[in-house]
């Protein structure tokens, strides 16, 4: 057997998958801007993504902020006498620019992306998606569009809340464990805060929301076979969304903060 054959087959498979994803993405975006819209489904998805993800995102960013404050103290106290203000600045910038959006994106990928892939995958293998078509209902409009719009709009809300909770986590550790002055800590945080820090995080959040819901819908929509196919779709949705989140995070950081 020709040893190049598996490499060629894998490459052709990659090209086919890329083409299929591009078609899926462009079709989904096209339907996002064309009526009719299913507003009840959109609200249901917004509640599912926004409201029910709040505890997960809140807990994640709270403890990330607390750990960041502790780590910064243990590192910076050796380098600088002004550890108090340095910790406040690092926690605020770290949470709003990076940790808030990335952690929220990854947590939502695990919670929502997996659920979407499993739900749509099950609908695919049980012919429910075919049934939608026979009932004159476009599956993109009914299943994909509400999820993508909900992801685009609710991730920034989650990240905004996560930013506040994360900074509060740093405050708790700094004030109650390390004994810093609360007033000085808040003043240092406020002084360093710029609109671009929060805005860049919210832009990232919106992009991550799109990625998570797109990957969940794409892998679920194209799942094959039975339970094994749905399981593979779920895994692929989470893995691909996580990788794309980290890549997109770097690209957006480069766009906002590259000098």
């Amino acid at each position: 057997m020709n040893p190049l054959r598996p490499i060629g087959a894998a490459f052709l498979g990659f090209l086919a998958a890329t083409g299929q994803l591009s078609m899926f993405t462009s079709t989904a975006i096209w339907h996002c801007v064309r009526p009719p819209f299913f507003f009840r489904l959109l609200v249901r998805q917004m509640i599912d993504i926004g409201y029910y993800s709040l505890p997960v995102v809140g807990m994640t960013t709270l403890f990330a902020g607390m750990a960041l404050a502790l780590q910064t103290y243990s590192g910076f106290s050796r380098l600088s006498a002004e550890a108090e203000s340095a910790i406040a600045k690092v926690v605020l910038l770290g949470i709003t620019r990076e940790l808030g959006p990335v952690l929220a994106g990854l947590m939502v990928a695990g919670r929502i992306g997996a659920a979407m892939a499993a739900e749509l995958g099950t609908m695919r293998v049980t012919e429910q998606i075919d049934a939608l078509t026979t009932l004159s209902t476009n599956p993109y409009k009914y299943l994909v569009v509400p999820r993508i719009i909900a992801g685009l709009t609710m991730l920034p809300v989650l990240v905004f809340v996560g930013d506040i909770v994360g900074v509060f986590g740093g405050y708790i550790v700094s004030v109650y464990k390390l004994g810093f002055n609360p007033g000085l800590y808040i003043k240092a945080s406020w002084d360093i805060l710029q609109a671009i820090d929060v805005i860049s995080g919210l832009v990232k959040a919106s992009a991550f929301g799109f990625i998570v819901t797109l990957m969940g819908c794409y892998h679920g929509y194209h799942s094959k076979g039975g339970a094994q196919g749905v399981g593979a779709a779920t895994t692929n949705a989470v893995v691909s969304a996580s990788i794309l989140i980290l890549i997109t995070n770097y690209i957006i950081t480069e766009l906002f903060f590259s000098t």
């Binding site: 049980t126 075919d130 009932l135 004159s136 209902t137």
Partner: protein, 265 residues
Amino acid sequence: MTDSKTTSRTAPMIRLDNLHKTFGSKTVLNGMNLDIPQGSSLVIIGGSGSGKSVTLKCILGLLAPDEGDIFINGESTLAVFAATRERTNRNIGMLFQGAALFDSLTVWENISFGLMQGEGMNRDDARDIALEKLVAVGMERKDADRWPSELSGGMQKRVGLARAIASNPAIMFFDEPTTGLDPVMADVINDLIVNCVRELGATALTITHDMASARKISDRIAMLYQGKIIWTGETQDIDHCDNAHVDQFIHGKINGPIKMNLRVA
């Protein structure tokens, strides 16, 4: 009759013209021709993997054939705008093999889904029609607010049938309607199909390999083998046809021209 391209005195409601469909190296449909006259009930029989489901999916627009054309009511359904296809689908009712009920919706919402989402009917009117159709398939009104997961396989099939007839379609498709059901429930479903099709005056196409079901619900039977229709005829003629493939299939014989590619241990 052994001609694969049937002709009819009335204009066919559905016409399949030289359909070809290939998946990778496997040819599933290989120049399939079939006419289904208006108001008739035709059953396509054939072994597993013979292309019955692919044929149905091509007619429904869920798969695109590689070659050939499909006409519904005289109009080609291929290469048309999505809105045109959706309009065509409004005249079609489909009962899926596993019922394919939406598990996030109640029974009545499943039945009236096409009315509410496809035709924009308000919920109150749609619920009234759903209850009427639920009774028509032998279920009780109190079942309307149950979830699909709470129903038995036979009940799910009946709800699927109620959903298929909710918009009083002119064309109905049934995909293996009795698969997975006990003989008594299978007969109940067969009776319901016959009654629904007769009352609606619909044109019906069923795919099955259940010969008891095929004999009961069809006016005509067509046999699909190796991607082509190899026999069509009146239902009562199938036991006397001179086609060896059909004879082997309907009597379930191991020996005959149909080879199953079984490896003997």
